[in-house]
């Protein structure tokens, strides 16, 4: 048999084949479908009714509310009510209501395993690739088709290898690695193929840092972003009650074909900042030091998990934000916030003067009441800084790591977290 990539192996299994070729279109059976309150029930219910179908397997569907929260308008309350009623009518037990952002809650609740073929009704679904699952985002009509049939077509992707040798220095993170890669390769550098991350600096990442890496495959334009499972994956999963089956096969064969192999050296990486209005406008922080900011935002699936909160708190401990800066923290999940509260991380934010926001997508997705006003300049741990996404069209968003966002909140302008930390 021809050597296969990890992506090919998972798609072959899902489509009942021994092997698949890049470029062929196959129909695959879905192991799990994840939907949220925005693209989920309110969109799929009328389609399923028109088709006269219920969900194909209630045990393979997970529903997570995270977009229209807090539900503080008539519209959003109606959406949440419809969501809850549909989940009950379909008898779906994997319903995580107001628990946090779907990409973080899904693995936290033990739904992901290496080798699974998973679709999510959200573009940051490649996050699941951190666990060695082939997970990708689709729209609501396509999701309705999956819910009706349990199947989806997929053009077997080529694999693009991104290898990070060396080791990350202090105050550097997966966000810096991804902004660097997107800055180099562009927002369509992934060409809607499978991206696989490898190398010493990737293996050294924690599970949540790997999730940040896989998550931003969306901004790289890949269909999914895979990291082969290892002992880090296994111990994270077993701590959440999931005993993964033997995953030794869930890796690319040594001589599997790749269409591109990009090399980066983590040891030479500086903190990255992406200037408005594209994640591809990334450059070393030194090129943007001194830019004044009004808002520092620590939020989103890609930027406010427990590990992200700890990174930011390591800068803010015993510090105050600049008087001109509003620091907002929206922890990505309720569980992560609880742990952060118990260990004192949340207290650091409160003492620094931060506003704590709900465990939801919030202004990262342009939802809710905290959107950026006219001409506001924001530095943010989120994934996208498109014009107007987080608020007024005149607002500007710089993307950076939790270290850099926290350091900039203290300084009142963009600054290198390594300098604030005293070169620690």
């Amino acid at each position: 048999m021809m050597a296969q990539t990890l992506a090919q192996k998972i798609i072959a299994k899902a489509s009942g084949r021994d092997a698949v070729d890049a470029g062929e279109i196959v129909v695959a059976k879905v192991d799990l479908a994840m939907i949220h309150d925005s693209g989920g029930p309110r969109r799929v219910k009328p389609i399923l009714e028109r088709l006269g179908r219920n969900v194909w397997d209630k045990d393979k569907v997970a529903v997570i509310t995270d977009h229209f929260l807090p539900a503080d308008t008539d519209d959003t309350r109606a959406i949440q009510r419809l969501t809850r009623e549909w989940v009950a009518a379909q008898n779906i037990s994997a319903f995580h209501d107001e628990m946090g952002i779907c990409h973080v809650v899904l693995p936290e609740q033990g739904h992901l395993q290496p080798g699974m073929f998973v679709v999510g009704g959200d573009s940051h679904s490649p996050t699941g690739g951190a666990f060695g699952a082939y997970m990708f985002g689709i729209g609501a009509t396509e999701m309705a088709g999956v819910l009706a049939t349990g199947e989806i077509w997929i053009k077997v992707p080529e694999t693009i290898l991104i290898e990070w040798t060396g080791w990350l220095g202090p105050q550097l993170s997966a966000k810096d690695m991804m902004l660097r890669a997107i800055g180099e390769l562009g927002m369509d550098g992934g060409g809607y193929q499978a991206v696989e991350y490898t190398g010493s600096a990737v293996s050294a990442l924690s599970m949540q840092e790997r999730m940040t890496m896989a998550n931003m495959t969306a901004e790289l334009g890949g269909q999914t972003g895979l990291i082969a499972p290892d002992e880090v994956t296994a111990s994270w999963l077993s701590a959440r009650g999931v005993q993964p089956a033997d995953f030794s096969n869930w890796r690319s064969d040594d001589d599997a074909p790749v269409i591109a192999h990009h090399h980066f050296n983590a040891s030479e990486l500086a903190p990255q900042v992406a200037a408005p209005h594209s994640p591809a406008n990334a450059s070393p922080v030194g090129e943007q030091t001194g830019e004044k900011i009004d808002v520092a935002y620590i939020g989103a699936c890609t930027g406010a998990k427990l590990d992200d909160l700890r990174m930011a708190a390591s800068m803010l401990r015993g510090q105050q934000t600049a008087s001109s800066v509003s620091l907002m923290v929206a922890p990505a999940s309720k569980r992560d916030q609880q742990i952060a509260a118990e260990e004192g991380t949340m207290a650091v934010f409160e003492e620094a003067g931060a506003i704590i926001l709900p465990n939801a997508c919030g202004i990262c997705a342009g939802y809710g009441n905290n959107r950026l006003g006219e001409n506001i300049r924001c530095i943010s741990t989120t994934a996208r800084n498109f014009r107007g996404r987080m608020g007024a069209a005149s607002s500007e968003v710089f993307l950076a790591s939790p270290y850099t966002v926290a350091a900039s909140a203290i300084a009142g302008h963009i600054c290198d977290p390594r300098e604030v930390a005293g070169g620690a």
Partner: protein, 165 residues
Amino acid sequence: MGDPARVWKFGDNIDTDALAPGRYMSAPIDVLASHCLETVRPEFAAQVSRGDIIVAGANFGMGSSREQAVEALRHLGIAAVIAQSFAGIFYRNAVNLGLPVLECAETTSAKDGSAATMDAVSGKLELDDGVVLNCEPFPDFLMQIVNDGGLVPHLEKRFSGGASR
């Protein structure tokens, strides 16, 4: 060949937040569509006519999986989007909602405001200034879905025994 349509020209990396802004996502489609592309081109939604065509650069529709990005264009009557390339999820959403999306290696010669005549079958767009864009043909597998009018009618046909898949 249909009636002439106006060409609306856009650049690279038109994103889904521009097509379907988050702050209007809980609103009905007519409200959402009235804000379509306003951050890029404020007059677009008010001035676009049924049958008009968008010609754009690379990576059209990048960003979110929200299919309202496609739905807003359809609501405004856009007949087709021709771009150098499309973001993957947007492309799938367009097929599923029956919006013709055609890839064309060279779109820079098309001028904004041109009158155009589209032949969806051959993928040929003829402009009144003599410029012709020859688009890539649609893959057969996807053509079945588009010809059925999108994924929902396609599945209706399948469930009633009219198609194998």
